[in-house]
Chain length 378, copies 2
């Protein structure tokens, strides 16, 4: 129950162990087509090219930035946590002129400040994180994509932690490049990064003056491998077994229903928050901006935050995440992602956390916490 | 039995399906340490930093090129097949001045011509492929690394197809950056790229003037994640389940013995070649330069090479690789890699191939082919 990877269900684990076939085998190519279609549905991006990149979520970020930006392009990056900062670093490596809009950690991205930065000069790309895993804050992707379009910029939206847990609606946002990871709310193992590219983004990439500074993630090459129009051009050897796992995870999501999964995430989050507050703790992020799948809980004064994490790992085999950057030592990060977003997980976590807090001398009433959570679980 | 992925054994498939734990969990960190040590042993690189990169073998190539080269550096690339060409493309994307030494496909790299290119001007990197998967030719890595050192260049050696199938001896070669994939002679699923870096290479990377044009594969960042000296710095989410599979594959290799596996590859190769020749076919590569794990067989005049591949896939569920680039339509590529390098595979392949050839009107005597192979299998 850290910031990821989330629990992977037995059916997905079992799919990983299917025999490895050739990546150019017609049967495997049929699986590739199914995955592409399922990702279009999951992102709600029927007009985007959707493929899973053969590396963890960071590869989605790197692919978006490196494919869109050329030396001298202006890029505005909203930074409200660790992952916005990473985008800015990558944009510099792409040779872009990077303008950052910096926020205190825990806040959502400020649309007005981003628009002011976009107004400063012609801008190729606006990049931001929809669901900041380092803080638990949700930003307004629809409004941010709209200001990008208004100022003629392509939008890059990091949905690593949001996809599958809250609404991700690429078509409604009219977003350009949106990527995610498999190890958060999709509950597949880490190692792949689903990505969606608009026609505008594809045109920008195929019209580049310089080659992309990344061969493995160059969409001009990748699309002739995943393109599906007749004979595929060999590019890399796809991670066959990881793709079996992703396929099964996607089947499971559509069996439950995307909307049902989002409701489940919201409900377990409300229960966890009720329990956290009943235990005498408080949340970092304002209620309206909270991510249900990533809960940042303030460490009370006088409590050794690392000792609490060690306690729950040792006695309950339960992982809770530490704070990153300026939040180091200040918060715990509790994930409720995918197969980990259940009433059982909420009750286990509250029980373990209260025990660990009491061991530290902080009085946390586990019975009250569980009762408050149960009140929301219904 | 194509150019990869090779068959994955049930024990490795089963390891893939172990429960996904957190990538910062102490148990997982212990597994990381075991993998690092096993890779040092496998590469025979006790003084190199050895880690598995979180993407297929192409990521090893990209990491080597992008980390070592800065804009303006001179790079000599030997091209004797598809993968040398890919290295040259990447070196250009790194901003290097690229000098290629081009060979006809099917030939090993010519050490004298490479040395002449190195003599032309101060050179930062010599890059070449040890075992060209597109042609089946083996090059002399020891001599090529020696001429690189003589001329003050760092050596980058592509061992994607060689590692585990023929001798890879990084310490004896005194090679700088050596990488491989998991889906060839290691018989784990595709998706990871083991890489070894010498102290010279590490110093060159930490002393760069510009940032690496790749965040995910930047060794300055990667080494503080995989470094192992106390607290790890979060970088990316490791592909946990894929690493379970690699770990099990490494255990299996050491159980058999590295030398025993190399002898097994050599013996099955000799049997396959004997059978191929008894069937009236011939090999592309000269005997002294052949890779046991990748056998390029000339397509006889009048035979439809694609129809043969389709036949063996349809009737025998057996994959044989097509020729790439200038060898398209000219050769078949038959892999004998890792768990696919067995007498059973040799006999199956000869039987299927002879049947397909006869269906095409080319008289291939399957009995003679099997007898010739059996003579080598003993």
């Amino acid at each position: 129950m850290g910031p990821g990877p989330s629990d992977v269900s037995p059916r997905v684990l079992s799919a990983l162990a299917r025999p490895t076939i050739g990546h150019l085998d017609p049967q495997f190519q049929a699986l590739m087509e199914e995955i592409k279609a399922a990702l279009q549905r999951l992102f709600n991006a029927p007009d985007h090219a959707c493929v899973p990149l053969p590396a963890p979520g960071t590869a989605g970020m790197e692919a978006a930035i490196m494919n869109l930006l050329e030396p001298g392009d202006r890029c505005v990056v909203a930074i409200n946590g660790a992952f916005g900062g990473r985008m800015a670093d990558m944009a510099g490596r792409a040779g872009a002129t990077v303008v950052t809009v910096d926020h205190d950690w825990g806040l959502p991205v400020d649309v007005a400040r981003v628009e002011a930065a976009l107004s400063g000069a012609p801008t190729k790309v606006l990049a931001f994180v929809h669901a900041e895993t380092s803080t638990g804050a949700r930003s307004d992707a629809a409004s941010l994509c709209a200001v990008a379009r208004k100022h003629g910029a392509l939008s890059v939206v990091d949905c690593v932690t949001s996809l599958g847990g809250i609404v991700v609606d690429v078509a409604a946002w009219d977003a350009d490049v949106v990527y995610s990871g498999t190890q958060k709310c999709l509950s597949a193992p880490p190692g792949l990064s689903p990505i969606a590219l608009s026609k505008r983004a594809q045109a920008a990439i195929s019209g580049r003056k310089e080659k992309v500074r990344n061969w493995l993630l160059d969409f001009n090459l990748l699309m002739s491998y995943w393109g599906g129009e007749g004979g595929r051009t060999y590019h890399h050897t796809a991670p066959i077994n990881a793709l079996y796992g992703l396929h099964e995870a996607l089947v499971a999501i559509f069996e439950e229903g995307q909307q049902a999964a989002i409701v489940r995430h919201a409900r377990t989050h409300e229960a966890l928050v009720a329990g956290i507050e009943a235990a005498g703790l408080s949340m970092l992020v304002a209620e309206k901006d909270r991510l249900p799948q990533l809960n940042t809980v303030r460490v009370p004064d006088g409590v050794d935050e690392a000792a609490v994490r060690t306690h729950v790992l040792k006695h309950w085999d339960l992982e809770i995440g530490a704070g990153l950057g300026p939040l180091k030592g200040q918060v715990w990060r509790i994930g409720l992602m995918g197969a980990s977003a259940t009433a059982w997980h909420v009750r286990l976590c509250l029980t373990a956390l209260c025990e660990a807090l009491n061991a530290q001398g902080f009085k946390a009433d586990a019975q009250a916490a569980l009762a408050a959570a149960d009140g929301k679980l219904g």
